[in-house]
């Protein structure tokens, strides 16, 4: 692989003289307007366009995902992929309009397959371009169900839909109750009212009645993603006297929520999320300290006990010594696996022809995985059929796997200690 890593770029960095700058402008313009600069299908190097929100409001997540792409070469070589591939990076600036043009740009630059983009809206925009250009698109993270419901032939998603997320989430709740022998009778459901939260709420509405859950939901409270204060919502939730707080959150609101619960001294049996981010992220631990402990999230996660995860961990620590894999694993894991799907398809297809690659991706059967779940296999709509979730519980300000048993690092604790009882 000849990945244009950040290090390589900075090595060549220096002052650019006027002549170089003019040459650069000329070349940039020429490259930008070169009509249909599509690399021939017989190319021996697979070009993977990785499109992520590396700037803008989602920059943190985009840059976290990018780390998964940066370690891919080293790890994949160690597990037997000696195919050459090149990563072409694109930043869609957390802007759906830009996502579409960046996808066009990557394809013009010769990308044989696109990977990304950590955003449902952007994924929908990119899918239109890849379908039109007949270039495979492996979606790393985006839960919007419609992505694989449009009849696209070149779109594949390794991430679960919101329905799968919630289904796994509710099953994970039951595992915790069974293991601890304690079951809540009632719950209050709080969710962020954005695309992700709404999709999860719809999935809960759909699945909950048939899931035979041991508790009933007393109230559902939605809050605005831009909310800076959740005191009213938390007071309302507390007033229900529910045993359990079930939450679909993102990072900032998860922090606000717990802060407010501590302030209002609301101590339900536990806080559990059936498949949302926030409560297992580094910022959550840094901001809340001991109050971040014992929160439960049932989310797609890596299996820390496999050989592949050890390789990923080692490559990650080498490349990003100041960063923590656990704090990035969700984004790193799905991005890494998306690239693995592309490279695996290239290996089997033996060509970079996008149509042949799409056919090969459709036949994917990847058992050697980083993330928890069965082998990666796509259904007729392009959706990965085997996405598992882990039950994470926070202990000592880090998330630990408590289920499934084969990946468990600790035993679950439920009900959780009160705020004042935490060390």
């Amino acid at each position: 692989m000849s990945s244009k890593s950040r290090d390589q770029k900075s090595a060549g960095a220096g002052l650019v003289d006027r002549r170089s700058a003019l040459a650069g402008i000329a070349a940039g313009t020429a490259a930008a307007v070169a009509p249909f600069n599509i690399v021939k299908a017989q190319a021996k190097v697979l070009k993977i366009g990785v499109i992520l929100p590396r700037s803008g409001v989602q920059a943190f997540f985009g840059q976290s995902c990018a780390k998964g792409a940066e370690i891919a070469e080293e790890v994949l070589r160690q597990v037997g992929y000696d195919q050459k591939f090149e990563i072409l990076n694109a930043d869609f600036e957390s802007n759906v309009d830009v996502a579409r043009s960046r996808a066009e740009r990557l394809i013009n630059d010769g990308a044989h397959v696109l990977v990304g983009p950590f955003d449902s809206g952007a994924a929908m925009a990119i899918a239109q371009v890849t379908e039109q250009k007949r270039v495979p698109f492996v979606c790393n993270i985006a839960a919007v169900p419609q992505l694989t419901e449009q009849g696209y032939k070149f779109v594949f998603r390794i991430f679960p839909t919101s329905v799968d997320l919630v289904r796994n989430g509710l099953l994970g709740f039951k595992d915790v109750f069974a293991a601890t022998g304690k079951t809540p009778q009632t719950a209050v459901f709080m969710h962020i009212n954005d695309t992700f939260g709404q999709a999860n709420k719809a999935a809960i509405d759909k699945l909950f009645p048939a899931a035979n859950m041991p508790f009933k939901i007393l109230d559902t409270i939605a809050y605005d993603p831009a909310a800076r204060d959740l005191s009213v919502e938390v007071a309302k939730a507390k007033a229900t006297n529910a045993d359990l707080l079930m939450v679909v959150s993102r990072l900032n609101d998860a922090i606000l929520l717990v802060r407010e619960m501590v302030k209002q001294r609301w101590e339900p049996m536990g806080i559990m999320s059936p498949g949302s981010p926030g409560m297992y992220e580094a910022q959550f631990f840094q901001t809340l300290g001991k109050y971040s402990d014992y929160a439960v999230s049932v989310v797609p996660w890596y299996n820390p006990t496999t050989k592949l995860s050890a390789l990923v961990g080692s490559a990650f620590n080498k490349k990003f010594p100041k960063d923590s894999l656990v704090g990035n694993i969700f984004n790193v894991g799905f991005t890494f696996e998306s690239i693995m799907v592309a490279v695996d398809a290239f290996k089997r297809a033996g060509t970079t022809d996008p149509v042949a690659l799409a056919d090969a991706i459709r036949q994917t059967d990847l058992a050697n995985r980083l993330m928890i779940g069965g082998p990666i296999k796509f259904d007729a709509k392009g959706q990965n059929m085997n996405v598992g979730s882990a039950v994470l519980q926070n202990f000592n300000q880090r998330p630990s796997v408590v289920f499934p048993k084969e990946a468990a690092e600790a035993a679950p604790v439920f009900p959780v200690p009160g705020w004042s009882q935490r060390a």
Binding site: K4, R6, K9, G12, A13, V16, S20, A21, G24, I25, A27, G28, T29, A31, A32, V33, A34, F36, N37, R54, S55, G56, A59, G62, Q63, N89, D91, E93, V96, D97, V98, R100, S101, E104, R105, I107, N108, S120, G121, M124, A125, A127, Q128, E131, Q132, K133, V144, Q146, Q150, Y152, N193, D194, T195, G197, Q198, A199, A202, A222, D224, P225
Partner: protein
């Protein structure tokens, strides 16, 4: 008709007309030498040029600062998309409903503001407030998908202007036509009595009122015309992107994006919004390309470029890029 054409060309130098013709011809032929990427960038540039032109009617001509124009884009996008998806009404008809809805919103905002003498910063805040609570409303409007988004079925078919389904090149020409028509319409407005009243209100509202101009009526007209024009950008947005999310389409950031073009190009000018949109969109992309080519892959460089453009314009070119450029090119009108 000939009188109208004569009025459109009044005061415009031959040199300016030739230059305008050349620019239009270049845009007309651009797809012939563009790849998919360049075409998509040009579509975005034209989209911002058009929307900026629509906003310019309100702020540039009449002096009413709106920071919530994403409201009109959003409600029109939803209206046209809902008509199409739920009742199979093609956008060529649905756009009239979209225009009507956007104008109704504009009229309500205008009435509340101008009837109760809300002006300046407070008027701007009112426009933001409307955009914000409409976003929250759509977040809870589950019939239209709520915050989970509203989706149009994507179909791979030949260009169909009735249903606005087709390849990007069709959207390019639709946007080019809209931008050209908006340019001519705005030229017509600035040459009309309404336009002169607007300029008078912009320069000194009290003086305009003292001269007998019905300030309330003409300010309302500016808001309604501007919101109606902006609504077509919303219809385009819905059918080009095929998915609508309240948090994206009604966002404050989108409102700011819409107004950067006219501010940088030249507020109150006809060509400023177009020039500003192209400077921001095309040049910003070119800057990114050049940096990548020279080995600097810096995420967010485009936003830095936007900031620099804004700083340069605010400090050294307070009238925008177009007025001094026009002088330099000798394109100023005949007096």
């Amino acid at each position: 008709m000939s009188r109208m054409l004569r009025r459109l060309g009044e005061g415009v130098s031959n040199r300016a007309l030739v230059a305008l013709g050349l620019v239009f011809a270049a845009l007309l032929l651009a797809p012939l030498v563009s790849n998919g990427y360049v075409l998509s960038v040009l579509i975005i540039a034209l989209y911002y040029a058009y929307a900026g032109q629509a906003w310019n009617v309100m702020m540039g001509f009449c002096g009413q600062l709106s920071l919530g124009h994403s409201l009109y884009v959003g409600v029109a996008a939803y209206a046209a998309a809902i008509f199409f998806v739920k009742w199979n009404v093609p956008p060529v008809i649905g756009m009239f409903a979209a225009i009507a809805v956007a104008m109704a919103f504009g009229a309500v905002i205008g009435f509340l503001a101008f009837r109760f003498s809300v002006s300046g910063v407070y008027f701007a805040l009112l426009t933001i407030a409307f955009a914000e609570f409409t976003r929250i409303g759509f977040d809870h409007f589950t019939w239209a998908g709520g915050s989970g988004g509203f989706f149009l079925k994507v179909e791979d078919r030949a260009a169909d202007l009735i249903t606005l389904r087709g390849p990007p090149i069709m959207f390019y020409y639709v946007m080019l036509a809209l931008t050209a028509l908006a340019f001519l319409f705005c030229r017509m407005l600035t040459q009309s009595r309404v336009g002169y009243y607007w300029f008078a209100i912009r320069e000194d509202q009290e003086a305009a009122q003292a001269l007998g101009i019905n300030v309330f009526r003409y300010k309302m007209l500016a808001v309604i015309v501007s919101s109606g024009m902006t609504s077509l950008a919303g219809v385009f947005f819905a059918f080009y992107y095929n998915n609508l999310f309240p948090e994206q389409i009604f966002s404050m950031a989108r409102s700011i994006e819409l107004i950067l073009g006219p501010i940088i190009g030249g507020l109150g000018t006809l060509f400023g919004p177009i020039l500003g949109a192209f400077v921001l969109t095309v040049l910003a992309d070119l800057v990114t390309e050049v940096l990548v080519f020279t080995g600097y892959d810096i995420p967010g460089v485009k936003q830095v470029f936007y900031g620099l453009c804004l700083a340069v314009v605010v400090i050294w070119l307070p009238l925008g890029i177009w007025p001094p450029l026009k002088r330099r090119l000798g394109l100023e009108g005949r007096s």
